[in-house]
């Protein structure tokens, strides 16, 4: 009898402790400072504040200025023209479900899609008419705790949703490629809104695929090019080149000559680079946003701390 009392007492005590802790965290998480109303006016560097998840803005010309912080919380964020995209995991969903929020130039929600997976990459096409993303999906892959990726896109004008571009007809070495384990990630579109690039992974290899959206086919251009990002002039691709297991070197590929240039950032970068202009790329690393010249010269410069997912309005 004494044992039963002890067991019940101890159990109740521990459950009360757990509930108190959980409700305490709820209070911390719900707490928010004053929120600024951000717009997509030109000349800003927008980013995700890592500690709170809220989107902040500083002038691109003076990134050391005190940031304006919005009330919008995202795990990934990107902008182009009058469109922004915000990927946010829904709290309390297991397996995770991600909300893809398509936002207007005042960061108001125009459209929402809820898709399975956790956010990896997000981008908006240069013309602002397409948003695209990559999500990690658990359980798709064969390793017990493995992930696979699913890249999809959404046409802002027509409302057409492509949940995954896995059906894209791809040619590798001139032959139509079929594999059950084909995985795509890191989409990037050209200013014409039709030509695009992405990484295709299959059977342990990665390829840079050049796609034609209207005809919905593509061809592999080159091996070992991950997370491509097309320059504003459409001639070069910044990407992460795998140099070891879990180690990537930020590099730039000239699409005309296929010449690769490693950039001055020597640390491993696991991000889809962002072109601030035709000469500079930005990326997130160690909870900060950095910039480095796109021609391999110079050295990395820290633009903002407690920051990730950089986006530039122009």
């Amino acid at each position: 009898m004494k044992k039963v009392l002890l067991a019940v007492g101890g159990t109740v005590l521990l459950i009360v402790a757990a509930v108190a802790f959980t409700l305490g965290s709820r209070h911390d998480n719900a707490e928010a400072g004053p929120a600024a109303q951000l717009t997509l006016a030109p000349g800003q560097l927008l980013y995700r504040t890592v500690s709170t998840g809220r989107i902040a803005s500083v002038p691109l010309s003076n990134p050391a200025a005190t940031p304006q912080v919005s009330g919008l919380r995202c795990d990934r964020f990107a902008v182009a023209k009058h469109t922004a995209v915000c990927l946010a995991v829904q709290p309390g969903t297991l397996p995770a479900v991600t909300d893809v929020l398509v936002l207007d130039d005042h960061l108001a929600i125009k459209h929402k899609e809820s898709l399975p997976g956790t956010p990896s990459r997000a981008r908006v096409s240069p013309d602002g008419r397409l948003v695209y993303w990559t999500l990690f999906v658990t359980g798709d892959s064969y390793a017990a705790t493995g992930f696979s990726t699913r890249a999809g896109l959404y046409e802002v004008d027509t409302g057409r949703l492509v949940k995954t571009i896995e059906e894209l007809a791809v040619q590798v070495d001139g032959r139509r490629y079929f594999a059950s384990d084909a995985n795509f990630w890191g989409i990037t579109f050209a200013p014409d809104g039709n030509r695009f690039y992405a990484t295709l992974a299959s059977l342990g290899k990665t390829y840079l695929v050049e796609g034609d959206y209207a005809h919905y086919h593509g061809k592999a251009l080159r091996e070992n090019v991950e997370c491509p990002s097309l320059s504003p002039d459409g001639t070069r691709v910044a990407f992460k080149k795998k140099v070891g297991d879990g180690v990537w070197r930020l590099s730039v590929l000239d699409l005309a000559t296929l010449k690769e240039t490693p950039l001055a950032e020597t640390r491993s970068v696991d991000d889809q680079a962002l072109w601030a202009d035709d000469h500079t790329v930005l990326y997130g690393l160690d909870n900060a946003v950095w910039s480095v010249p796109a021609d391999g010269s110079g050295s990395p410069r820290k633009l903002a701390g407690d920051a990730a997912s950089p986006a530039v309005t122009g």
Binding site: A7, S25, G92, L94, D140, A143, D245
Partner: protein
């Protein structure tokens, strides 16, 4: 339906009309409840850990996969050590409690580790060590607390309770995440509190079974001497060989998804299908094993897995075939997991029970890890279907050999 077959065991066990739970030793039920509560705690963390590491801390999924595989291998060694020390000190409950306690404290470690990936790695390794330490002494306690004729039923009851915990864990994690607005720390802290409840239950309600043996029987030499016993050697080797040709769970679910075109949102529900069937059949198959023999049921489980593989990759595809295949996968678990322990128990002297069970488990676990690597390789080289057919053929061949060439006679 089993009146004729169960007559002899009725005489031995007394009244057969009592529910199964009441006819197993109180100690087994207590251990089952401890496992249930512990599984709630550990499955909570398992469910959120990939999210936490990849999304919260920005770890690369590949790195996480590597990390995870490494620890699974390390557990194998600790398991034998835990089993042997429990036998040597003749304190099964204390060593099992140490394992449960270590894993509980590790949940707090996850809170303390914060965003340091290195610290999280250390904590996860310690957590797996705790799991490795406790498994063999716990199974030895179950086996020593039961009537030898009802071992299958005892393990069935324990595994069924354990599976209930695995069901509840992710649900509790979801509730905590929703309540705390996405705080992983709250999930870890709640997980700690639940693990502590399990330790409390263990301390209060589980009784130790000091084995009645002479002390010098429990040396390292005696432990190695176990393998000289013909039947024990056979069961260890056959379990390992069968492990080597067993296709891992994640592959099965992936195959089902490919064949059945399961939407990604529902994909994580597939393991629940297996667990549900396991939960329902653990006790009936354990009793069947007590009646017709544990080894035939164990091998029958592998035949069920083989059938599931053939169904999944066969010429016909369809919703019901997928459901049947998932059911067969559950049968495989119900007929093999606890039943192997029930089969191996009586082959080991009671003073060496934890050591002996640890050896069998470790051989099987190590072989299954190797099989995952091999199957992954075969899949990459030959594509999915040929790899599955080869695996099914190998499984059938080894199961047949285990039934007729040098069979185990428990």
């Amino acid at each position: 339906m089993y009146i004729a077959a169960s007559r002899t065991s009725d005489l031995a066990a007394g009244n057969d009309r009592k529910p199964a739970l009441r006819r197993v030793a109180a100690n087994v039920v207590a251990l089952g409840l401890v496992s249930l509560v512990t599984d709630v705690s550990s499955e909570m963390v398992t469910a959120v850990l990939p999210l936490y590491l990849v999304l919260g801390l920005g770890l690369n999924p590949l790195q996480f996969g590597l990390l995870d595989g490494l620890y699974a291998g390390a557990t194998a060694v600790v398991r034998v050590l835990g089993g042997h020390l429990a036998d040597r000190w003749r304190r099964l409950k204390a060593v099992a409690g140490l394992g449960y306690g270590l894993s509980a404290v590790c949940k707090l470690g996850l809170v303390a580790a914060g965003s340091s990936v290195a610290a999280i790695g250390v904590v996860l390794a310690a957590d797996r060590t705790g799991k490795g330490i406790r498994t063999a002494p716990r199974d030895a306690l179950i086996s020593l607390s039961s009537e030898p004729g009802a071992l299958g039923r005892s393990f069935g009851v324990h595994r069924a309770l354990d599976t209930v915990g695995a069901f509840l864990g992710p649900l509790v994690a979801m509730a905590v995440l929703a309540l705390s607005l996405g705080s992983y720390t709250s999930v870890f802290f709640t997980s700690f509190c639940i693990a502590a409840i399990a330790v409390l239950l263990l301390v209060l309600f589980v009784r130790d079974r000091p084995a009645v043996v002479d002390r010098d029987g429990v040396s390292l030499r005696a432990a190695f001497g176990l393998l000289r016993s013909k039947d024990f050697r056979r069961i260890t080797i056959w379990a390992a060989l069968l492990g080597l040709v067993t296709v891992g769970d994640s592959f099965i679910y992936l195959l089902l998804q490919r064949r059945w075109d399961v939407a990604a949102t529902y994909f994580p529900l597939l393991p629940l299908g297996t667990a549900g069937v396991y939960l329902l059949l653990a006790v009936p198959l354990g009793r069947l094993a007590d009646r017709i023999g544990r080894w035939p049921v164990f091998l029958g489980g592998h035949v069920a897995l083989c059938l599931a593989l053939v169904l999944i990759c066969g010429p016909q595809a369809g919703f019901w075939l997928a459901v049947v295949a998932l059911g067969l996968h559950g049968v495989f678990y119900a007929a093999t997991d606890g039943v192997l322990m029930a089969a191996a128990g009586p082959l080991v002297p009671s003073g060496l029970r934890a050591t002996g069970l640890a050896v069998v488990q470790t051989g099987q676990a190590a072989a299954r890890m190797l099989s995952s690597v091999l199957f992954g390789l075969a899949w990459t080289l030959w594509d999915l279907r040929p790899a599955v057919f080869v695996a099914a053929a190998a499984l059938a061949a080894v199961a047949l050999a285990a039934a007729f060439v040098r069979p185990v006679r428990p």
